[in-house]
């Protein structure tokens, strides 16, 4: 069994008196799609924020590919291959969809301290960006400013930006949030096609998506991991059903 891509050990985070992350230990293996589920307020987004570097944990360790990144700033972790999508859509609103994705490609294509030469005309960057957009189904909308996209399209753009980074680890924070049935189906299909290419940590409420995609599931309740394992095992775990899944399975 090869080295886990992401290893979190005993991660703890307080906000004032509130313990939001309670000694979380987790590992994600290469090619695995690991879902983290739990009720609202369980600390899922805070967990992702700590992995991506936006929040510093109070205690614990985060290792990426064996390397300790606990003290590394967000942009450095991104350069190491951590890509993420945000729960509340976070794109560059006045840039076109293509430009949004091209910037992600640019970040791993040599120095950006180049002061001459129109970046928008760089064929290599644009071709890669167009390919990613086509992969997620936004090919036709490449030149639309991001703020003019529909909510569902923006969520997909988030994914496209993350994919364009050729990530070593993909963190998805509720990608299905607020999108309709059809678009959810499409997104599940896109994610299924991505499976195996790189490890994914998926935070989601949509149980259909979770059980369709996940190789392993961890259940986060009040900042603690209640259970972790294969989907069928977790699904049947009485503690999990009592605390969270109970009615969700209907």
């Amino acid at each position: 069994m090869s080295e886990p891509v992401l290893r979190i050990e005993a991660l703890c985070k307080h906000f004032g008196g509130l313990l939001v992350t309670d000694s979380v230990t987790l590992a994600i293996n290469p090619g695995e799609l690991h879902a983290v589920i739990g009720p609202n307020g369980a600390g899922k987004t805070t967990l992702i924020n700590q992995i991506s570097g936006l929040i510093r944990p109070d205690a614990g360790r985060i290792e990426l590919g064996g390397r300790d990144v606990t003290a590394l700033p967000t942009h450095a972790r991104a350069a190491l291959g951590v890509a993420r999508s945000f729960q509340i859509t976070s794109v560059l609103p006045r840039f076109s969809a293509l430009q949004n994705v091209a910037l992600a490609v640019q970040a791993r294509s040599g120095s950006s301290f180049r002061f001459f030469g129109r970046a928008d005309h760089e064929r290599a960057l644009n071709e890669e960006a167009e390919a990613v957009l086509a992969e997620v189904g936004l090919g036709a909308r490449a030149h639309v400013p991001a703020l003019a996209l529909s909510h569902g399209e923006k969520r997909v753009l988030e994914l496209a930006i993350a994919l364009a980074m050729r990530p070593k680890l993909l963190l998805l924070d509720e990608p299905m949030a607020g999108i309709g049935r059809d678009e959810t189906e499409r997104l599940i299909a896109v994610l299924r096609a991505l499976k195996g290419r790189f490890p994914v940590l998926l935070v989601e409420h949509d149980m259909t998506a979770v059980f369709a995609l996940a190789d392993r599931i961890s259940v986060l309740i009040y900042g603690r991991i209640l259970a972790s394992g294969a989907p069928d095992v977790v699904r049947a775990d009485p503690a999990v059903i009592a605390a969270y899944l109970g009615d969700e399975m209907e």
């Binding site: 991506s52 570097g53 936006l54 700033p73 967000t74 942009h75 450095a76 991104a78 350069a79 890509a83 993420r84 945000f86 976070s90 794109v91 560059l92 609103p93 006045r94 840039f95 076109s96 430009q99 910037l103 992600a104 640019q106 970040a107 791993r108 120095s111 950006s112 301290f113 180049r114 002061f115 001459f116 030469g117 129109r118 970046a119 928008d120 760089e122 400013p145 930006i161 980074m165």
Partner: protein, 325 residues
Amino acid sequence: MVALPAPAAQRSAPADVIAPALIFVALAAVPLVASVGAQTYVLDLVSRIMIFAIAAVALDVLIGYGGLISFGHAAFVGLGAYAVGILSAHGFGDALIALPVALAASALFALATGAVCLRTHGVYFIMITLAFSQMMFFTAASLAPYGGDDGLTVRARSTIAGFALMRDALSFYYIVFACLLATYLLCRALLGSRFGRVFCGGRENPIRMASIGYDVFRYQLVAYVIAGAIGGLSGFLLANAVEFVSPAYMSWQRSGELVIMVLLGGMGTLYGAVMGAAAFVLAEEWLSGLTEHWKMIFGPLLVLVVLFARGGLVGLAARLVRSKA
């Protein structure tokens, strides 16, 4: 919060090429059009407009494209000016020495202060840049050997490699024009480049940019240094134009005037800053001719512009064009 259109570097509308082209053609033609009698006055006035425009264009890069509302830009202008003044006082009157020193001094100050300022955001950034500008004002005012509060007269305009090319009003005008054109083209290129895209992205959504892998702080610092150096160029030319340097060049009020010029012309367009500089200087000239208390008119005018003409002159022109179409 007023939503602004996409920064001009990310658009490619025909207006963004035609408007600046017209402006520069007009500026180039001024000496030919100015009547013989008033020629020196007009040349001096428009030279001064262009000198401020150089600083304003650089400031627009920071404010209009980077979202960095710097209220300390006058410090760079002042540093450039004092470089000329101090060197001249010691007998070094050639541009080949004065200009690099001016650029280096402003760039270094920008680097040092930028490293501190750019760690702050929002209102803190405004206030700290304003404070640094005022700090330079007090520092200059306390330099007794260089005139202190009263300022310093520059013996003569800088020579260029020994040639007195700047002594004549007409040739000075075209030198300033060339500097402004070069500044504009440089900033345009900068903003459309890889660097510019990251810099603008840093304003759009800094967290997203960090999550993609960009250390936005570094890009902002580089932009700040470049803008500072351009401010130094403006100061170099200013000292030569007026043949006098004063601590007032660095005051926060002057910094405010530069911001006003950018806003008046229309932020985030680059050529708007040129128009804004012209509007500001011309308004000052005209109003001060009407009454010594012209600021009592100008002040409320500013308030009205902020409340009702947020897009500046460029915005007004765009609205006019749209309503005619």
